[in-house]
Symmetry: C2
Subunit: 455 residues, 2 copies
């Protein structure tokens, strides 16, 4: 680390570019003008006076990069629009760049170009941060500029700053999030209306809560990207989307949801980031990061998070249990998070400072899913013969999976066993399920779902 | 504003003090070693390696100011303790000062001395910030150092940064908080056990949830100080404790709580910070800040906040409705907030930067309580004679207070009228109550309570 002052210098230093004065506006380039981008542009224009007062300098929107320049965008000067994003981020006078295009490319190249050009960047791009945050953070560090991304996780809910700053003096042990509004809306509807997944997805699509191609949401890719970002911040460890175990909600049946209700739970798509205990085996503490549907006790704070809302539940050594709740998506909420970052990086620039960079010093190992322990709910279709329970219990015992409760439902051809286990590793549970499928008295293992969260 | 760089300078500058190197520890002075202070001291010592990694420099605890030096404090070097706080904050080598003494003096003089001495300050002192934050903030600004205070409101719950930074690009319209755990615990117990206030207070004192002298909590002074801090941040306006309308919970009866239940509400001590609509009368938008018991619909997110927990509910133009929830007090949670600030101001110092200062540019008018409008729940003991309802309704009408529902309970000497109004000003409601007391058919107005929060 190079020698640096521990006192802010009082005397003025020369400003960026050649033509300099303290009142010079900070020039903002906006990349993307969709739902979020157009709202951000509107706020920069309409809130100009408040922003100037809060920053100490005016902001000037100098360009908006779009794919098609000739769409009507009311309230915005047509002259601002350009289809040449590369040229916009290469402008020598741009101080701040906002990226709300999304996706890996061209977003990555544009952000790297902006950082290399000495601009601070505000992005909402969860996919890019989760895939390749490292190269963005190191570029920001190298060029001593800011990279802020509050909007990348849970929309308007302030969660990045709390993890990066408010709780940075604490030891975070777990972050559990409902971070995808689409899947939460669908599961909520399945719970309240008892409808199946396909039918409910169609309904969500009609209502505009799900995309025409719902894969990113429904298969958990969106939540996995957010989980990677949350885990990286919480555990001071670089976690990428590839490190995240992921299961979507396409296989969640109305039976699963009814089974959950029967044990006082709701089914949620959860993102779980956990710090393991130190087993004293010299391996140190590892982290696990996973996204999957899970049964959550109705008494858990996350169980009440309904519809398109998001919530992030944080557990830490000193602070205890915290929850952050709010709208997880939408143009306005996401724009609010972008604008908060914009003011923050603008203030940093005015003060000649940069905010916190990437912190990965802990470099914890990410456990494979097989090593992760949790509780499980299983439904088995069994032939209603004497001794089937004994045979099933025997299989669990052989694999070291301890049964907490077992319930028999129906008779004859409808005979069902519902089993809830104590904590077991994913590997042991999977082996148990395979062995159960080989049992002659077990017709089928109809559902296996994890049970998460202490009441 | 003097001309300042919009780019962080890359070249190293001379460090504080005479003997200088980049790895030099940042020296920390701790003022106060009670529940919070002792926990902070413990964490600084035990978490030294993590703190060094997160800050980029080691922290060195160089002194702890206490009233009585000769108490046994396990795990802390006795040589660190001093009863001469003035001398400690005057040390030329101290970079960071943590104030957890509380109260106005000597805390104020010590913080001002520390700031004047070029140290950044982390404080949990809500009373001082609410009484005289302005002089502290201007001293921090003058000496270009940090003043952070996440621990001053709602313990471990990150709420200061979210208001100061995450939502600084948005327009916050209301902040509603349950920010005093003692009163929340008492009201919760009264609700679940149906006991009276005095009895429940005694129980809370036995359990350690209330002080021997519970005045600050029970009379709402603690919540009012927090409300002033929240309102100042939310509305970019200087609000002091003196600006906050305050009522405690000592007069809340088990009857009030039963009445609340009867209309689907719970009674909470709430801190309400609200931005008025612009009435177009040229007066602009004003703010109202008040602390009092109120009936909250059970369906409101704040209604479920039980026991000693705190929660802050924020409504803003773009973000919508957000809630922050967690432990509101206690040594460890408060220490977590202090440590987060400590790492942040230490990082700022290492980077030669300062965080955001006070923002009061909006300078909104604070409305007197008489102008504040809300809904009210009233219980009247009336003589069970024909026409009493007409007479009562007439009084409300004469004062322009519109009745939403009225319910008659009991007969004869027990006859009661329970009235819930539509929104009315506090002034109109007070006048109505006076006039009701003059009605021959009204024996007494037994309770008047505000009804807050949309379901």
């Amino acid at each position: 680390m190079t020698a640096i002052d521990v006192r802010p210098s009082a005397e003025p230093r020369s400003s960026r570019g050649s033509s300099v004065d303290a009142g010079r506006p900070l020039k903002v380039a906006l990349l993307g003008c969709g739902t979020v981008g157009s709202e951000v542009a509107r706020l920069i224009v309409e809130q100009a006076e408040d922003l100037r007062a809060r920053i100490g300098r005016p902001l000037e929107l100098v360009g908006i990069a779009v794919r098609r320049a000739h769409r009507d965008r009311p309230g915005l000067d047509p002259a601002l629009f350009t289809t040449d994003a590369q040229a916009l981020v290469a402008r020598p006078d741009v101080d701040l760049v906002i990226e709300v295009i999304g996706g890996l490319e061209p977003a990555r190249s544009l952000i790297l170009a902006a950082l290399a050009n000495g601009a601070s960047v505000v992005t909402a791009n969860k996919a890019l941060l989760a895939a390749d945050g490292a190269s963005l953070f190191s570029a920001a560090e190298e060029h001593q500029v800011d990279l802020y991304f509050e909007a990348a996780v849970a929309g308007a809910i302030p969660i990045i700053r709390p993890l990066r700053e408010s709780l940075v003096g604490d030891e975070i042990t777990a972050v559990t999030g409902i971070v995808n509004g689409t899947t939460n809306f669908i599961l909520d509807l399945m719970d309240t209306e008892g409808a199946g997944f396909a039918e409910t997805l169609a309904q969500a699509q009609e209502l505009g809560y799900a995309e025409a191609d719902p894969t990113a949401d429904v298969e958990g890719f969106d939540a996995a990207a957010k989980a990677a970002i949350l885990a990286s911040l919480a555990f001071h460890t670089r976690v990428t989307a590839a490190d995240v175990y992921r299961e979507g909600i396409a296989d969640v049946s109305s039976t699963d949801i009814a089974s959950a209700r029967a044990i006082g739970c709701v089914v949620k798509l959860v993102a779980l980031c956990q710090l393991s205990e130190d087993l004293g085996d010299g391996a140190g503490r590892s982290v696990s990061v996973r996204v999957h549907p899970a049964m959550i006790p109705r008494s858990h704070p996350l169980a009440g998070v309904g519809g398109a809302y998001n919530a992030v539940f944080v557990e830490s050594r000193s602070a205890g249990r915290l929850m952050f709740y709010g709208p997880g998506a939408g143009g306005s909420p996401t724009a609010s998070a972008v604008m908060g970052d914009l003011v923050t990086v603008a203030r940093n620039r005015v003060r000649g400072a940069v905010g916190p960079g990437e912190s990965t010093y802990a470099a914890r190992r990410v456990s494979p899913i097989g090593d992760v322990t949790t509780r499980y709910h299983l439904s088995l279709e069994v032939s209603d013969v004497a001794g089937v329970l004994a045979a099933v219990a025997q299989v669990f015992a052989e694999h070291g999976v301890s049964i907490q409760t077992v319930r028999q439902q129906g008779r004859g051809d409808d005979a069902q066993l519902v089993v809830v286990t104590h904590r077991a590793t994913d590997a042991a549970l999977s082996a148990t399920v395979e062995a159960l499928r080989d049992l002659p008295s077990v017709r089928d293992v109809t559902s296996v779902m994890r049970v998460e969260g202490e009441a």
